[in-house]
């Protein structure tokens, strides 16, 4: 029990720091494992190696099972094409860049292939958490990113299968891939047919659901093992079987705590077994991190923009995908198990993962995105001509989801409208439709002057953050224009009112409409 207590203490510190510093927990857990290793050596604290080995074994199974359970095709519904294009292009091109860099750094082809493959996968755990925290999980770019992550997981699993069988030659390698695909086909069949039938037919309690889910995990792992495939393939496919709605929701609550527990121990244990890479490897790690971030951001941004996403969304997608994954660790671990990678190389890949996961949360901040948007070629070459000659017009700050309707309404009522949006692609599309549009930050006083907002009849603020509306309101103090700002929280509405603006309290509006519906259906008096 003392071993578990020590590991949980490290996990508790890592989670506390994660909350305090607003960093993802995974790198902190791994660093916690490294610190524990150093302390244990210095203070002669004995941590049972069998415990560490077993938490890694169980953690691996849980990790891929959870990833499989998140693989619901519903998540990428109606976005299959952009997801496929982006995921394949990123995986291949970034992988190629990684392989070539590794070769340039002097590694053999096989090692370079592992490094390249490890670089090309991004972390589902980090990105999903980030999207959830920023409530962007269901924005179009959020769905695109999630779809890409799911595809990457599949690619990595197939790579592990191929690499495990590579020693037996191309025929054995192909046979292993075929077996994996056949098992995948069975899993797909069960996902489509059996799981929905079970959900309709049986009402299982929590205990039975949990046992059923775990039994699926072990059965498929055993089948994979019997087919001479890595058991992780079975674990992944077992997760996929359960990802069918509503089973995924029903088991999530049951498996959530088991997953959190084992994954925390897994990442600490991984940190604990790392061996110090050489100085040269650390330098190589730095070069690979730079290649990873630069190539991912440029590649994903360019491709996503071409696929019709806004500049900001494309940039955010690029930045969010610029880290290596827990599946990179899995691949490196498999490489080490197969004797293709040394312990130091595994450590180097682990350190790249720790560093890039930490960097993601730092470089995905708004200020960095804004900075990068200013460097965007379209931004630099966009027309900066203003609309100073306009007066008694309407200014819409932030096009957003409701922009189309608002602009249409204003035009229908005889107002000339200027849209200010930070997104180059949005502005371009509006201009193509013959509308007045300016790319820029709607809370910036200079931009407000460019659209002559002071002389406008009305300024409508629907930017992403309410704080931007407050800045715009302050900049427009004393102006003749009425300022209307969208808010969600009551305290935001109060602030808008205090600055002389007219708040559109969306939560209040939705509540009012809902109550009217209840009354009209005689559900309340």
């Amino acid at each position: 029990m003392s071993g578990y207590a020590i590991l949980m203490l490290v996990a508790a510190i890592a989670f506390g720091l994660s909350k305090l510093l607003r960093l993802p927990a995974i790198p902190l857990l791994m660093l916690g494992g490294v610190a524990l290793q150093i302390l244990a050596n210095k203070l002669q604290i004995k941590i049972d190696p069998a415990l560490v080995q077993e938490t890694i074994e169980l953690g691996l199974a849980v990790l891929v099972f959870t990833a499989g359970a998140d693989l619901s095709p519903r998540r990428v519904k109606k976005r299959i094409q952009p997801v496929l294009i982006l995921s394949c292009a990123q995986f291949l091109l970034l992988g190629l860049a990684g392989v070539m860099t590794a070769r340039w750094l002097g590694y053999e082809w096989m090692v370079a292939f592992y490094i390249g493959s490890a670089l090309s996968a991004s972390s589902t755990l980090v990105v999903v958490r980030h999207l959830q925290q920023r409530r962007q999980f269901f924005e179009p770019y959020g769905r695109l990113v999630v779809g890409v992550l799911l595809m990457q997981d599949i690619f990595i699993i197939l790579l592990i299968v191929a690499l495990q069988a590579i020693a037996g030659g191309p025929l054995e390698c192909s046979l292993a891939l075929l077996k994996a695909l056949a098992l995948g086909a069975i899993a797909l069949l069960l996902h489509r047919r059996l799981v929905p039938w079970v959900c309709r037919r049986f009402r299982a309690d929590e205990e039975t659901l949990m046992l059923g889910a775990l039994a699926t995990l072990f059965t498929f792992s055993a089948v994979a093992y019997l087919l001479e495939l890595p058991f992780l393939v079975g674990a992944f496919l077992a997760g996929f079987i359960l990802s069918a709605f509503p089973m995924n929701g029903l088991v999530r609550g049951m498996l959530g705590s088991i997953t959190s527990f084992f994954l925390a121990l897994f990442f600490i244990s991984i940190g604990f077994v790392l061996t110090l890479p050489t100085g040269a490897m650390l330098l190589h790690g730095l070069v690979l991190i730079i290649v990873l971030i630069v190539v991912t951001v440029l590649l994903v941004t360019t491709l996503a923009e071409r696929l019709g996403y806004s500049t900001r969304a494309a940039l955010e997608a690029g930045i969010l995908l610029s880290q290596t994954s827990e599946f990179s660790l899995l691949l490196a671990f498999a490489g080490m198990s197969a004797g293709h990678l040394s312990a130091q190389l595994f450590s180097m890949i682990a350190l790249i993962t720790v560093s890039t996961m930490t960097l993601t949360s730092l470089i995905s901040r708004d200020s960095i995105i804004w900075g990068l948007m200013k460097l965007h070629p379209k931004q630099r070459h966009s027309k900066t001509a203003g609309f100073q000659n306009l007066s008694d017009h309407a200014v819409l700050l932030g096009y957003g989801r409701a922009g189309r309707q608002t602009v249409q309404f204003l035009i229908e009522h005889g107002l000339e409208v200027v849209v200010v949006d930070s997104d180059a692609a949005t502005v371009r599309q509006l201009r193509e439709k013959g509308l007045h549009a300016l790319q820029g930050d709607g809370s910036n006083a200079q931009v407000l002057n460019q659209v002559n907002a002071h002389q406008a009849r009305v300024v409508l603020c629907s930017m992403r953050y309410s704080r931007d509306a407050l800045v715009a309101l302050r900049a427009l103090e004393g102006a003749t224009a009425k300022v209307i700002a969208r808010t969600f929280e009551p305290h935001e509405a109060e602030k808008v009112r205090a600055l002389g603006g007219l708040p559109v309290d969306t939560a209040h509006a939705a509540t009012g409409n809902f109550l009217s519906w209840l009354e009209s259906n005689a559900l309340i008096k």
């Binding site: 508790a12 506390g16 169980l58 205990e207 039975t208 049951m254 705590s257 088991i258 671990f333 198990s337």
Partner: protein
């Protein structure tokens, strides 16, 4: 870490989970408690097929299960509840241990066992299994009942006696002679340790834990990991103080039970406990030795009958004499009708120190298997048994007070459930409560549940089936979700559709609309669209556009 093929623990766990699942599913067909299914799975894997041997890792996982089970029991006990039943539990456990031990000793002597074996058998039949009983009561959803708390108090009292017994036995086993000084010192350490542990827990509950947990309240993962860490550290401290893992875990839970998020924490930890405890119960079956059944079957049957009938009767009489009502006394008594897993340890220690022979270990194991299996049925069906008992008119014969139980289940009905206390959730909650409706507001963050007027509040996540039951979703008039979590909203809509409950769900993205309509959502909350309409109204009202 050398090879993927070296996955011994995973292989063992695979066998355990598959066998447990098979027996649990089959057991459901014949209404067999899952616990019995787990024991049978263990018997199949161990004594029958010899597929799984208990190693250090499985033992550790089983211990984690016990620790988590007791931790969860502690998590449900506020200081007030402990004060309510604490003293009674101590008195009951003292009487019960003495009377059952005397009875057990007498039965063993009648069966022809010598002095020392009779003492060991008396100890074996005296103690009940905390793990088994709590697992069953938890399965029945009765852990909050008065009789369940009383039973837990009784079992923890037994634990203290067990600690004393094991301490004395260690003294006996330490050398060839009984060294009184060593035993007394060990007893002093045990009592001192108990005092120290209690002090640590009380101080922590009052002054140390509330602030950090309040700070982390909006991060469920952090709270979850901190709670587990706290549990393991206190268990470790208990171990250092020569106290049982159960007592440490229980007290760790009690300390966290004083925090506002203790119920949500309980629900989050519950699946983890279920997983570990299932493994523990299967390993219990694996350990059973059934080879010598033919030589000891008479003693096994007699002692099992004693445990299943006489022991509960002793407890029942004690409780009725202490003026507990018939319902509480009956249910508590039924809960004691099995032997504890500690008894196996006690017998194993006795055998290894040469005080008794190995046959007694087999005998104890078989009594354990039979009584645990039978009492599982009795506990699960205790309500039906109680009705039969009431009809027989045995109340008067045993001098029990008439059933005055006021433990009627609080059930909400025709209420409105609002999930997610963001601005919209709060506005809807307040609006409905102001119109006199019975409203239950649900969120995982306790801070968001304050200032909601007459609405009731509930801390928890609707992703858990237990929360769905506790908030009475199937009896609700309407469910409203203001959450901005697509999966949770879909699942909630699905559950509402299954139960035929009307629901209104926050469709914060147009892509959700189709799926939610497929799930027969009655109303889609769309603040973005509603905001656009409100904005148009403001433009008109302020004369900014001409109509």
């Amino acid at each position: 870490m050398d090879s993927f093929s070296e996955v011994t623990l995973l292989l063992d766990l695979g066998y355990i989970i598959l066998a447990a699942t098979a027996f649990a599913f089959l057991g459901k067909r014949i209404k067999m408690p899952s616990l019995v299914g787990y024991l049978l799975a263990g018997l199949l894997l161990g004594p029958v097929l010899g597929l799984v041997a208990i190693g250090h890792s499985l033992e550790m996982i089983a211990e984690l299960g016990i620790a988590l089970l007791l931790f969860l029991v502690g998590l449900e006990l506020s200081f007030d509840k402990i004060k309510d039943l604490g003293k009674a539990a101590v008195s009951i456990s003292s009487f019960q241990v003495c009377l059952t031990a005397i009875g057990g000793f007498a039965v063993a002597q009648l069966l022809g066992f010598g002095l020392l074996p009779a003492i060991f058998l008396a100890a074996t039949v005296t103690f009940s299994s905390t793990v088994v009983v709590i697992k069953l009561l938890d399965q029945k959803g009765h852990m909050h009942r008065r009789y369940a708390r009383l039973a837990v108090g009784l079992f923890l009292g037994q634990d203290i006696v067990i600690i004393l017994a094991l301490t004395i036995l260690s003294g006996l086993g330490a050398g060839s002679d009984f060294e009184l000084a060593i035993v007394l010192k060990s007893l002093g350490v045990a009592f001192g340790g108990m005092g120290l542990l209690l002090s640590v827990v009380l101080v922590a509950a009052r002054y140390i834990l509330p602030r950090p947990f309040a700070w982390a309240a909006n991060s469920p993962d952090t709270v979850f990991i901190w709670a587990l860490c706290w549990c393991f550290l206190i268990v470790l401290l208990a171990h250092q103080l020569h106290l049982s893992l159960e007592i440490g875990a229980f007290l760790a839970g009690v300390a966290l039970a004083q925090l506002p998020m203790h119920e949500d924490l309980h629900r989050r930890l519950h699946p983890l406990m279920t997983f570990f405890i299932a493994i523990f119960l299967v390993t219990l079956g694996i350990r059973m030795e059934i080879q010598e059944f033919s030589t000891v079957w008479v003693a096994v049957l007699v002692l099992s009958t004693f445990v299943l009938l006489i022991k509960p009767l002793i407890v029942f009489v004690i409780l009725t004499r202490m003026r507990f009502d018939a319902h509480t006394a009956f249910h508590t008594a039924v809960a004691t009708g099995q032997v504890s897993e500690f008894s196996f340890i006690l017998l194993a220690m006795g055998a290894s120190s040469g005080l008794i022979n190995g046959t007694l270990v087999t005998l104890g194991g078989l009594v354990g298997l039979i009584t645990i299996a039978c009492s599982s049925y009795l506990i699960i069906n205790a309500d039906a048994l109680y009705k039969t008992y009431k009809r027989t008119g045995l109340f008067r014969l045993l001098g029990s007070k008439r059933d005055s139980s006021t433990e009627a289940e609080e059930t909400r009905e025709r209420h409105c459930i609002v999930v997610g206390m963001n601005a919209m959730g709060r506005a809807i909650t307040q609006a409905l409560a102001n119109r006199g409706l019975e409203v239950l507001a649900v969120d995982t963050d306790p801070k968001k549940l304050t200032g909601l007027g007459s609405a009731e509040t509930f801390i928890g996540s609707v992703e858990y089936e237990s929360v769905i039951e506790e908030i009475g979703l199937r009896r609700a008039n309407m469910v409203i979700s203001a959450l901005q979590i697509e999966d949770a909203n879909h699942l909630l809509a699905y559950r509402c559709k299954s139960y035929g409950v009307r629901c209104a769900i926050h469709a914060f993205d147009l892509s959700m609309v189709e799926d939610l309509l497929d799930l027969e959502t009655a109303y889609l909350l769309m603040p973005s669209a509603d905001g656009t309409v409100a904005q148009k109204n403001i433009l008109i009202k302020e004369g900014l556009v001409k109509i």
